[in-house]
Amino acid sequence: MSTAVMNSPAKNVVKLGDKAAGRGVMDQVLVDLGTENEDVWTVCADMSTYLGSFRKAFPDRYIDVGIAEQTSVGIAAGLALEGAIPFVAGMAPFISMRSLEQVRSDVCYQDLPVKFVAWYGGLTTGGGSTHNAMEDIALMKQLVNMDVVSVGDPNMVGALMRASMDHPHPLYIRFGVGKGDPCLYDPETISVEIGKGILAREGSDATILAHGDLVFEALRAAEALAETGVNARVVDMYSIKPLDKELLLRCVEETGHIVVVEDHLTFGGLASSIADALMDERVMPRSFRRLGVPQIYSGFGSPQVNWAQYGYDRGGIVAAVIEMLG
């Protein structure tokens, strides 16, 4: 599996507690990767604002096709067939849905190492349900040869892009708004590896498994639970496919109770992968709860308002853990 230390050469490392922009990290790391490797390309469908540094540095390896996601993915497949390493950068709903068939039949069928860097995962756009990506993980993880990671810490966007360079298969890197994201980890102490989770907070009473923006909510929920005497573990399960089964089974064994929280439909995402894995291993947790988007097309409003509405913000997580511990 590919690993990368968080702060390796990315220039704009920020520290724990700071806020940063995942999209800014993306653009900077693209420049770094493009400098190191002349086969790195960036393809987008009218996302030039977010790719200004790469576009300026490598105009001949930058393709903006206008608002035409399908052809952007087909072109990326063509580049990869010639040995290039294309990053397709764009909004999660359109990469995962508008160009789904190109992702499947042009990229995954041929097992091409195209990297998809997708923001606005979950209910984070404020644009309503046309722009929300609450199905993207279900769609992407279902594709043969595709691996899927979902990132909360903005530095990890870059770290996973770096790790993807040694990953010879398609990879979907999902994050949220990509602007003003809280840094969760000290970049000098955390390394990422596709296929591994991060034990973000130790605890023994229950485990909250989360990915993306909701790792931050889970950590805040664990803090609130600690004040009531509940010692909750938090795992950043950023690698959804492949899944870190070893870590999962350890959490079930050591804490018994499992809560999965994600900015995604409650069926088809991480919670479903975990439920599948536990059934396959014949492991039954003492209790199991899934928090996320129910079968509904949500309204407008900020991510936080949406998460709270459907009970998977920090308050919802606290309530679920207390309820399951009885």
Binding site: D60, V65, G74, I75, G78, L81, S105
Partner: protein, 287 residues
């Protein structure tokens, strides 16, 4: 420039390709896309045996011209044209076509069949992939061309025009499209429902250097391939080839039934007799 002898040789190849198409369709217990295979026969022969720089002995040569069959359901036609060029053995195709484990199936699969540039099958996908190949070649200052054969039916797909717009906007002079304009879709004649006309003008409007040709006139096709603008130019080229679906077999021509169909012995005999008669006429004209 193709002289008369070369053209006659290529025409003979086209006859042999049609015969092999019929042989395969007879042997295979299932439908074969004969209509579209027959309409692009001269085009594939002209590309693989005349226009494209390809070498069956060195299938990954860096300077080779690339070819992508965007109308992937024409795979049988491509396999046979490539076999005649020396890439594959027709007997292997005949013996295994469509079977589990065979590299030769209804739609081209690059990971199973060497010498293909890309898997295709779902319509509207090949042209965008070819655009990607053309971008890579231009950035690397390679001098080869990227050819892609598309169908008129798949030109109803939005992704074709997305790619057309991209290639035109970026001026990919190393990209050459050929459209098998046989005026039919799978279940209907072009024009009964959808109307692509003015088809050539659509490509022109997308900034493509657009050339119309009779897609069954080998000399004319060779002439177009001889006179392609330089690959380092700033316009992609689209060869709009007017063709007849099912060309060469009277009961298949312009017939919806023969988009894809099973061929039994009775129909095979009739069809083969027509191809043989046309071949004899060709030879007679030569003599």
């Amino acid at each position: 420039m193709a002289d008369r002898e070369q053209v006659r040789h290529l025409e003979g190849m086209a006859v042999e390709m049609r015969r092999n198409l019929l042989r395969l369709a007879l042997s295979f217990d299932g439908p074969v896309h004969l209509g579209g295979d027959m309409s692009m026969t001269e085009l594939l022969i002209a590309l693989y045996h005349y226009g494209m720089n390809v070498d069956p002995a060195d299938i990954r040569a860096a300077e080779r011209d690339r070819f992508i069959l965007s109308k992937g359901h024409g795979a049988v036609g491509m396999y046979i044209a490539m076999a005649l060029r020396g890439f594959y053995e027709f007997d292997d195709i005949l013996a295994t076509y469509g079977q589990f484990g065979s590299a030769y199936g209804m739609h081209p699969c690059r990971t199973q069949l060497p010498a293909l540039e890309s898997s295709t099958g779902s319509l509207g996908h090949g042209l965008p992939i070819a655009v990607g190949l053309a971008f890579a070649a231009r950035q690397r200052k390679q001098t080869h061309r990227v050819f892609t054969l598309i169908g008129d039916g798949e030109s109803c797909e939005g992704s074709i025009w997305e790619a057309a717009n991209t290639a035109g906007s970026y001026g990919l002079g190393n990209l050459v499209g050929v459209v098998d304009f046989n005026k039919q879709l799978m279940t209907n004649l072009n024009g009964n429902t959808m109307n692509l006309e003015p088809f050539a003008d659509k490509w022109r409007a997308f900034r493509w250097n657009t050339i119309e040709v009779d897609g069954h006139d080998m000399a004319a096709i060779c002439d177009v391939l001889d006179n392609l603008p330089p690959a380092d130019g700033n316009r992609p080229t689209m060869i709009v080839a007017h063709t007849i679906k099912g060309k060469g077999v009277s009961f298949m021509e312009r017939s919806i039934a023969w988009h894809a169909n099973n061929l039994n012995q009775e129909f095979f005999d009739i069809a083969m007799a027509e191809i043989d008669a046309a071949a004899a006429k060709l030879e007679g004209a030569v003599a």
